[in-house]
């Protein structure tokens, strides 16, 4: 049962049996967000609850997300997860420790995505193309909806995305990346990577060096062997990119030339 309440100027809260979704996507600016949020909290009696928030196309900085978190904490509200169409907001939320979902939020019927791509995302897709030409591999990369991030992921950070994920940087042990498509890391993969999370057995995981704690593709799982001593990851070494994919029902790592 989906119950939707909304304020005059665009914030709305919807309640399904298990979760509460606050939809802020029609709000134009950050200043309005704080105002509308307070309204919706009072009107919908959200104190003390766990909520998910949809930011839509809003572009937020880390400070903005932190401020929102503090405001909500004042109402004893816990943010379980956020949805966003912009990379800046996703990164900002991740840096603050929030779980970023790649799925489309329940309350809104959202059509996609090539239309709502921001300018930055289009430029970055061109870069993705260029990178793919450099990497060996004969598979096609779905260009739509690729999340492109330029930073290291550290222990405790989790990134989920509906589509492909490209990371320029390392993913340290203790971090988690979940994509419905491929995962491409221009650095060392040390954490957990889950590609094809919705069941795509053709999804692939690539990195300069795969030193992952666990690799997951669709519903298969492979873990790092205990006894083998991996050579020290020296960043000044010349790297040969590696790719993990499913062959004969198992996850196998290939070294590209």
């Amino acid at each position: 049962m989906n119950e939707v309440l909304s304020t005059k100027n665009g914030a709305s809260a919807s309640f399904s049996t298990e979760e509460i979704l606050i939809d802020l996507s029609s709000i134009g600016s950050f200043e309005n967000i704080l105002f509308e949020l307070t309204n919706i909290i009072e009107e919908s009696n959200l104190r003390g609850k766990n909520v998910k928030i949809n930011f839509g196309d809003l572009s937020l900085t880390q400070n903005m997300v932190s401020s929102l978190q503090s405001v909500l904490k004042g109402f004893d509200i816990n943010i379980k997860m956020i949805f966003s169409n912009t990379i800046e907001t996703k990164i900002a939320a991740m840096e603050v420790g929030l779980t970023v979902s790649g799925e489309k939020p329940e309350a809104k019927q959202q059509t996609v995505l090539s239309d709502s791509l921001t300018e930055t995302q289009k430029d970055e897709d061109k870069l993705v193309d260029a990178m793919n030409n450099v990497l060996a591999g004969s598979h096609e990369i779905v260009k739509e909806n690729t999340l492109f991030i330029k930073q290291n992921l550290r222990s405790g950070q989790k990134l989920e995305h509906d589509g492909n994920i490209v990371i320029i940087g390392d993913c340290k042990a203790g971090s988690e990346i979940i994509a419905t498509g491929d995962i491409t890391i221009w650095g060392i993969l040390g954490g957990i990577a889950h590609a094809g999370s919705k069941g795509d057995y053709n999804a692939k995981i690539r990195a300069f060096r795969i030193n992952a704690i666990q690799l997951r593709i669709a519903d298969l799982l492979a873990r790092k062997p205990d006894a083998i001593e991996m050579e020290k990851m020296d960043k000044h070494n010349l790297f040969t990119p590696e790719e993990a994919k499913i062959t004969d029902g198992e996850i196998v790592i290939y070294t590209e030339y």
Partner: protein, 270 residues
């Protein structure tokens, strides 16, 4: 007959809670008991690392609480001992992800299947601590013979005393250096137990092998002939009801002259 839920706590960080949980748990399992260890340090988990199981964590305590998986799916079996299992904490969340009520429920379910549920408590006295003690009926307080650790242990004992469900609690004094105790440069065993007014469960001497065991991801009780390993094994046996005397770390060992004197005294009186 349901199992015993024991929380391993200290207040102060870095005094050996996780190491003790790993080793006491492993030692109990080596003695034949069915043991599960729970890491409640959500966001900063370490018990998996000490047990060498860090690559095998698929589901965590939080996944169980949020019903993303069944409790059984989240239990990771030990590499060597099938009687031993680990319920790991989540790394990508924080301590607000669990509540004391949820912990009580999980401990309740686990004690039906296991003889011992060892709960590794995080440092501090906030939510993490409250979560860890929620389902426990016994407590082991870990401290080292240093002022800050003893002061924090006192606070923890005060908090445990005011919790009715914890029926008994005992102290483990960790990282003692017998030579420093004998030269009066370190608080001794009786000093600490007197100051804290608490029963002693065991004393663990400082042992470099602990570092080696952590590097390898292998609890020290699995290594042969180590001082700390033996001490942990004795603690496990005491928990299971055996009476084992705690060695005296305070009187210096007899010197050669002492031994000669004693020999003559003994022969003189016969």
């Amino acid at each position: 007959m349901s199992g015993r839920v024991i929380v391993v706590t200290s207040g102060k960080g870095g005094v050996g809670k996780t190491t003790s949980t790993a080793n006491i748990g492993t030692a109990l399992a080596k003695n034949g008991a069915k043991v599960v260890m729970i890491d409640t340090d959500i966001g900063l988990r370490n018990l998996d690392l000490l047990m060498g199981l860090e690559n095998r964590i698929v589901y965590t305590l939080i996944d169980v609480i949020e019903e993303k998986c069944k409790l059984q799916q989240a239990l990771v079996k030990d590499k060597k001992n099938p009687n031993l299992a680990l319920l790991a904490a989540a790394q990508t969340r924080d301590k607000s992800a669990a509540s004391p009520e949820q912990m009580v429920e999980i401990c309740k379910q686990l004690k039906e299947e296991f003889d011992f549920v060892m709960v590794d408590c995080p440092a501090g006295i906030e939510q993490g601590f409250q979560n860890a003690i929620a389902g426990a009926t016994e407590a082991i307080i870990i401290t080292t013979p240093e002022m800050s650790a003893v002061r924090d242990a006192d606070r923890i004992i005060g908090l445990l005393e005011s919790k009715e469900d914890i029926l008994n609690y005992k102290l483990v004094l960790n990282r003692v250096r017998p030579k420093m105790i004998q030269s009066n440069d370190m608080l001794g065993v009786t000093d600490v137990t007197d100051i804290l007014s608490v029963k002693l469960l065991g004393v663990i001497p400082e042992d470099e092998n602990i570092i080696i065991s952590t590097n390898r991801g292998e609890p020290i009780v699995n290594m042969e002939n180590t001082k700390a390993g033996t001490a942990y094994m004795n603690i496990a046996r005491r928990i299971m009801g055996e009476e084992i005397e705690i060695p005296d770390f305070e009187t210096p060992p007899p010197t050669f002259i002492d031994k000669v004197k004693n020999f003559f005294l003994a022969t003189a009186s016969s």
